[in-house]
């Protein structure tokens, strides 16, 4: 290690730590001076203690006891309606990409134990449909659903109407065009060749523009806000929308980073997509949904701020744990491992808040579909992250690095954490936007059980098989082909789990479309303004 780099390195680490200490000090001294009051901004006046859960059967929604309270609820309804077109554009697109991505995932999975499945055409070879799967679910499903939910939450969090929603709609179209072009390019064999960055860089520009067009309404709405406190969800959403365009731009700078340094940029980017893009969106949504459905503020607002800034400081430096043992400087790997372990700080603070708020309310999981999806997602965030911190240690990573264990961890994070939270959010949002109720609540249950059992099979089988694979790979006495045979049952189990998940997605998509078309025997009035209660409201 050259001395200058060592010094720079120490400086950055000291900077991170000092930053964190400063933050803790200022929060402890109430420099931010909002404390628990800020935690209550998500409620309308008088709403605390009442649950808001549009997807729950036969629930009397809170519509206010006094005129003032009723007006606040009505204002929120107006805020919801203001984001309608934008949110529906992004959410509907995301559901489409989820279905497409699932079929490609399932086909990839089948190919791994039936290698002669669909080999005749170059367009369907494993090495093309697998990146189509990854890009469709990451940039199509997770990102588009995440932005859709963010667009819904922004006016609610700022208690005002969405300003500039039409930019977000145009942005959605551009983003979709980018996906169509990018996925076609991969299918045609025009991939850029790096994982998570397969789209040709020319096409990537569309995502930068599309994403920036969503940041515009965010900024405009923030400038227009009617709340004194910025609730923690808005911190996460604002930061994510700032980070993503920067990341995407730097990582795609064509031809800037050759050879081994290209690998560091590749994984710096890939982990930032996870850590600074989809994770803050997922955590932010959970920070809104859990207290809202319980009708009770999160237990510690201070902690949530520490969680946010420590996530920013530590997550941004973990990328190189994807290259442990690789041909890159040791100091760099160590830096990322240290930060990976430090990640337990934000993870634990978020866990205390999410699960601590749930304490005493677990009974609600039975009847609230949103809460069930969101809380299980939040729990899986804790699990996947703590698993990740362990996985980054050299002694564990030497075993798991090149195996199916990583794939299991990837789905625990992207699916059991992120996708579950997104499912829950969609169940919450759609009734508010369409003023229509979910027509068949049994389908929500069916969706839940299909995907839960599916992902359970997926993660457990690959975790076990991946670990055994990793241990065997280290011991050259075991021939390579014997290891392949050993993993086959798990790869078949993955196809079973994946098929259940895909079925669940079909149910979800069907229900979503029914909702858009206002199918089923729903009440004539928007759920929030049933005639009986409407009298109070006037």
């Amino acid at each position: 290690m050259t001395p200058t780099i060592a010094i720079l390195l120490i400086i950055t680490f000291v900077l991170s730590t000092v930053g964190l200490l400063l933050l803790i000090w200022s929060i402890a001294n109430n420099q931010f001076s909002h404390g628990q009051a800020a935690a209550r901004t998500i409620f309308s006046p008088g709403e605390e203690g009442h649950s808001e859960d549009p997807a729950r059967p036969a629930d009397e929604p809170f519509t206010g006891n006094t005129i003032e309270q009723a007006e606040a609820i009505e204002a929120r309804w107006t805020a919801d309606q203001s984001s309608r077109t934008a949110v529906l554009t992004w959410l509907s697109s995301s559901v489409f990409w989820l279905l497409l991505g699932s079929f490609f995932g399932l086909a990839s999975s089948i190919k791994m134990h039936l290698p002669e499945f669909l080999t005749a055409s170059e367009f369907l070879t494993f090495g093309r449909i697998r990146p189509v799967h990854l890009n469709a679910v990451t940039y199509g499903w997770a990102s588009m659903a995440g932005i859709g939910v963010a667009l819904f939450l922004i006016p609610r969090l700022f208690k005002t109407s969405l300003v500039g929603g039409k930019y977000a709609v145009i942005g959605g179209f551009i983003w979709n065009i980018g996906l169509v072009l990018g996925l076609s390019a991969i299918t045609l064999g025009l991939s850029d060749g790096e994982e998570w960055l397969e789209f040709p860089w020319q096409i990537d520009l569309l995502f930068v523009v599309g994403g920036a067009m969503c940041a515009a309404p965010l900024l405009l709405t923030a400038a227009n806000r009617n709340v004194e406190h910025l609730y923690v969800t808005s911190w996460y959403l604002m930061a994510a929308l700032v980070w993503f365009p920067i990341l995407f731009l730097i990582a795609n700078l064509p031809f800037a980073f050759p050879g081994a340094s290209g690998a560091t940029v590749n994984w710096w980017f890939a982990h930032n997509v996870l850590g600074l893009w989809v994770t803050p969106i997922g955590i932010g949504i959970a920070y809104y949904m859990i207290p809202k459905i319980l009708g009770k503020p999160i237990i510690s607002y201070q902690l949530s701020l520490i969680g946010f800034w420590s996530l920013a400081l530590f997550y941004s430096q973990v990328g190189i744990h994807h290259l442990i043992g690789g041909p890159i400087p040791t100091w760099l790997v160590t830096l990322s491992i240290v930060h990976s372990v430090m990640m337990s700080i934000p993870v634990i603070t978020v866990a205390i808040n999410h699960h601590g708020t749930m304490m005493g309310n677990f009974g609600r999981l039975k009847d609230s579909p949103t809460l069930r999806f969101v809380w299980i997602g939040a729990l899986m965030y804790t699990v996947a992250s703590l698993q990740g911190s362990m996985e980054a240690l050299r002694s564990i990573n030497v075993i798991t690095h090149f195996t199916h264990y990583t794939v299991a961890h990837a789905h625990l994070g992207m699916y059991a954490f992120l996708s579950f939270i997104l499912f829950g959010a969609v169940y919450f949002i759609m009734p508010r936007l369409t003023n229509w109720e979910w027509p068949w609540r049994k389908l929500i249950s069916l969706h839940f059980w299909l995907v839960s059992i599916g992902i359970l099979i997926y993660v457990v089988s690959l975790t076990v098989a991946g670990w055994k694979q990793g241990v065997a790979l280290l011991d050259a006495a075991m021939p390579f082909m014997d290891i392949v045979k050993m993993t086959l049952p798990a790869l078949q189990a993955r196809t079973l789990g994946g098929a259940l998940m895909t079925l669940g997605h079909l149910v979800f998509a069907f229900h979503f479309i029914a909702m858009l078309m206002r199918q089923g025997a729903a009440t004539e009035q928007p759920t929030l303004f049933r005639p009986a209660v409407k009298e109070n409201a006037q």
Binding site: E116, T125, S191, P327
Partner: protein, 209 residues
Amino acid sequence: MKRALAIMVGAALILLLATLTLVVMPYLQMSAEQVPPDLKPYTEQQQRGRQVYIANGCVYCHSQQPRDPSFAPGDKARGWGRPSVPGDYAYDEPHLLGTMRTGPDLFNIGARQPSIDWQLMHLYNPRAIIKGSIMPSYPFLFRHVDEPVEGDKVVNIPPPYGPESGTIVATEDALALAEYMLALDHTYPAPTLPKRPPKSDEPKENRAP
């Protein structure tokens, strides 16, 4: 608005710090690294083969980065080669390090399987050579002809994996890919390796079998 801006600027600054440590500094250090004198640049055909490797996503199952035996003993013991160093990748754009070993590491496949016929046969149908392999076959990289003409590279496929009649010949893409496989031979000594702490006591191996 001030607080909202503060959050966003703070977030951007932190990312910049991370970019400095994870992007700029490694780049400065690694681009100054010595290129091993025995490393040959790719020929045009090998480069084309590399593009076929990228287009068909071989990287999703194969890594190209043997680890240090003192860290992960299996890699070298399986004949995958000495630990790779940044200089080995001087001509690689984009990098193809890979993160999966659903199949074996390919950093030295050219040394391990130096026959182009082996490579072509294996690409046409891996199971023709390795029983139980789960690698897909790549029939679309080959042509099925009745009679090969002058200049065709004929690939002899053992029954029952070949066609019932006629002959299989390799396309330009298949030949380029096979040539790229043969070019993956990093058995030369790496000048930067001995500078590491001398923990591996065994003599440096130069040629894999």
